[in-house]
Amino acid sequence: MSQPGVDAPYSNYELGKPYDEMFARDGKARAPYAALDSRLSTLPLEELNRRQQAVEQSFLHQGITFTVYNDNRATERIIPTDLLPRIVTAPEWDRIERGLTQRITALNLFLRDIYTDGRVLKDGVVPRSMIYGSKHYRREMRGLPVPHGAYVNICGSDLIRNEAGDFVVLEDNLRVPSGVSYMLANRDVARRAFPAVFRSMGVRPVDHYPLELLATLRSLVPFHEDVSIAILTPGVFNSAYFEHAFLARQMGVELVEGRDLLVNDNIVYTRTTSGLKRIDVIYRRIDDDFIDPLIFREDSALGVPGLFNAYRAGNVMIANALGTGVADDKAVYAYVPRLIRYYLAEEPILDNVETFLCREERSLQHVLGNLDKLVVKAVGESGGYGMLIGPHASQAEREEFARKIKSDPENYIAQPTIQLSTAPTFVGNGVEARHVDLRPFILHGAETKIVPGALTRVALKRGSLVVNSSQGGGSKDTWVLSQ
């Protein structure tokens, strides 16, 4: 038995306060990791290094890259992938699946409510100003019917595992979540790196995600023959372009840019070599703001003039619906458990991370008094921007953030520094503990589908809690076990 912190390959494996996915507190490997553990103890490090390099080469050749611009020079980088899988047991997954289904159901009911009757606001469950004042609330969506009441069709929620070992929701990404192509690419990687372990464990497949996505998009129109579907991408310079092209190929649908589409008489067409072809469903990977320069940002060159009117006329379906961002706002997040109780009369299956709303005076004082212990986030930002990690910040940074919070308290929330769980990660000369989160992908059309898998994001820097790919994060495969 190799002991973490003592024996190779785990000599530098630190077990601290956070929950560790692989090792229990006493340093013994947890049962689901036993097979991986025994393989790791016989596999020479050079062989792991070779496999790691082969994976990086393969990603580069496949063009699974994003572009970084430095001094006017464009460099293509891969998002690092770790060979070692993260394992989720069947009971754990069952709870995640039920919890996320419950959550997306409540959030969709909430969206329909605030864009129609506003019952939840009249009943005082959520403050009116928080919704109508949100920059993501789209007045243009009021009263507009949406198929199956499904505003959010594709969702990628971020979960973390807390010190007690429970999964809790950190963020609902209801706008244009990305990363699902990495879930699929990582599966190839881990399956090839550990074929025997993979085979022995009963890992549930994820490859049918594109098929489920296609079915979800099809379910948005009432007819079933000849549904013409397109993915709308901002184009080749977008950091998720690989994913857009990947999904288009896997589903067998068109990949279009704004300049390929035109609207005539409230009908959306693409320009083809043989003439114009009508489009029925658009899976858009463009933010609300850029989708139609006539209605939203007029300087947008990515969108399609007239698209919103065609949508309003019911001649084209757009997934996700516009205006979903109002519900993944970090302030609304704090209300989701109350929304679940309000709409479904159920207790939340998955908890939130404890959240202080700076708009509430008592919380504001608590936050200002405990900045060194809290993580403060701006409400409308994502991707790890606009945030303060109190314990890691300098006194000056904290003071500056305190000023920002006081001048605009409604724009900030705070959470205790959450200890993301750690998982074994290959670092070149051994296996060490790195912090991870979990992003499963939820599909919601005529029905709710969650493919049993997820993107596990890894903070590759030792001790770092930031898993975002824009800030030094990588990812790894997630094995959901069938029993």
Binding site: Q62, V236, A245, F246, D260, N264, T272, T273, S274, G275
Partner: protein
């Protein structure tokens, strides 16, 4: 097929064809220069430079400088590396219309050549790099043929490849057959041999005409041989075939504009006579063919790719 996708496939193929042509000229020239006098080699390099860039080279440039400019100069928009970079950019734009094999072959080739510098190859057999690049491009052509459906997209690739091939062949023949050359710079026996090698035509030519190398026969072969893939006639046939297969649903009026031009070009080549051309007319004939290709390119775009939406609503 989306017009934008057709556009990218067409240009991707044109840039790959141009890259292949450039790599082949450089490889053949680097190999053959060792058998020439310095003066003859310089004239020959000057012709290569002019055929590839359309510009005369300055006399103080040597083989190193010219290779650098034609292969790796990022400021020369037709350099090998720029052609591959543009081909790859176009391929990335239509990643969903290509097979993994096509994309990965092209991407790997670009990533392999991208960091190469002249200094790193010049000391030892510099031609090897270009021969290897050619092998990679032949492999790319093979996977394109065998992993893509031969549908509309494939025919846009064919169109791009063969329109570009006619243009490049035309320029190469032009610099060799132009009459207004000073005698000391005009091609010698060895240069005609090299011209055949520039077009991978040496052995096919000797099979047809034996090893007696005569400019008139070379012109006949490279212009009018219907079976050799690097002849003008062959490429024009492929273009006609491809034009009949793209945009199957386009209205007849728009198809007619393109097909009329293609028919005119095909008959010009089918009924061209080399005897009439040899009295200085090769250059004029090529200029006419090139011009017709440009007209086809324009008609292709206005009929299928950039047409105004109001014309079809």
């Amino acid at each position: 097929m989306l017009s934008r996708v057709a556009d990218s496939l067409y240009w991707m193929a044109r840039y790959i064809e141009r890259a292949e042509h450039t790599a082949r000229l450089i490889a053949v020239k680097l190999d053959s220069m060792v058998e020439q006098t310095p003066e003859d080699a310089a004239s020959s390099w000057a012709r290569v430079h002019q055929a590839l860039t359309g510009e005369k080279t300055s006399p103080d440039l040597d083989a190193f400088d010219i290779t650098q400019r034609l292969a790796f100069d990022r400021d020369n928009e037709t350099s090998l590396i720029n052609c591959l970079s543009l081909a790859r950019d176009n391929a990335r734009q239509v990643r969903e219309a290509l097979s993994n094999e096509v994309w990965e072959n092209l991407n790997r080739l670009y990533l392999r050549l991208s960091p190469v510098t002249m200094d790193s190859i010049w000391v030892h057999t510099p031609a090897r790099l270009f021969r290897e690049a050619l092998e990679d491009m032949h492999a790319l052509e093979g996977v394109t043929y065998s992993t893509l459906s031969h549908g509309e997209g494939w025919y846009f690739l064919e169109l791009g490849r063969h329109i570009e091939r006619v243009q490049q062949l035309g320029r190469l023949l032009d610099v060799h057959f132009k009459v207004a050359q000073a005698p000391e710079h005009s091609p010698k026996y060895f240069d005609w041999l090299v011209l055949l090698k520039f077009c991978t035509a040496f052995e096919p030519y000797t099979k047809q005409y034996t090893a007696s190398i005569r400019p008139q026969k070379i012109a006949e072969f490279l212009l009018f041989d219907a079976e050799f893939p690097h002849s003008i006639c062959f490429s024009v046939d492929r273009m006609s075939e491809a034009l009949a297969r793209v945009a199957p649903g386009a209205p007849p009026a728009r198809r007619a504009a393109v097909e009329r031009l293609a028919g005119r070009l095909k008959s010009a080549v089918d009924f061209g006579q080399v005897d009439e051309l040899m009295s200085g007319g090769v250059a004029a004939f090529i200029a006419d063919i090139t011009k017709q290709c440009e007209q086809i390119h324009k008609a292709l775009y206005s009929s299928y790719i950039t047409y105004g939406a109001e014309t079809v609503l």
